[in-house]
Amino acid sequence: MVNKYLLLAFSALWVIFFLYAWSLSWRQAHLGKELEELKNKVGRGRPSDSRPS
């Protein structure tokens, strides 16, 4: 039978790593969304910018 402390230590390690990897990918996705919103805003602003004066 596997020692419970050994099992706990190895599990804890991977839980910590996966939580961090998840947090990184969440932040990257969030940033991507923000960039997309910004692009849309700029896109909406463009026709008025090109309006003849």
Partner: protein
Amino acid sequence: MGKILSPTVHLFVTLAWMIVAYWMIFLYAPQELTMGEVQRIFYIHAPSGWVAGTAYCIVFLGSVVYLWKRPPLADDLAHAAAEVGFIFCSCLLVTGPLWAKPVWGIWWTWDARLTLSFVLWLLFVSYLMLRSYVSSPGRAATLAAVVGIIGFVDVPIDYMAIRWWRTQHPQPVIAGGEGSGLDPRMFLTFIVCVGAFHCLFSYLLMQRLRLARARRELSAIRRALAIRPSED
């Protein structure tokens, strides 16, 4: 490094290295006679500590370069290393008590090595809290760089603690002088684990740096857009 090694290849190398390390931990390294199975925690506990030390060295170097020449990349590198180092230092502090309890009969003791490792974790926390709570980015970077430089004092003392003082923590088995040492198969397993953990660290560091760069670019675009109406 991103240009030398693509993120996918880097991730693949890390995973392959980790699989080899795990195979060595459970199937190649012999069982320690007095502690038994639980001693295998050593192969994840000690490399976590080594990586935490490496991470703080990067925080220190990044901070020195940032205060000296002010390149944003040095600040991003120090910040990323502090965040990833905090993760590995947390692993060190979680796996340590899980090894100590069955071997020493206690979860924790305030001996020099354990206390200095806890101080290292607190330094990572302080660095990251400073980054979050100071509202001006330039001021936060400068203050964090000062913490990164002053806090570096802890790293060599933490490394030497088990050599200078008698501690509850075991005496060094790597570079510990006469009478210390490991079984050759244990030593090889340990070296492979240190490599695998450093590979994982470098992968996470690169991902965190990409995030920092993207964030910096996004704020630059925002600033440019905010300036544009007044220019027109």
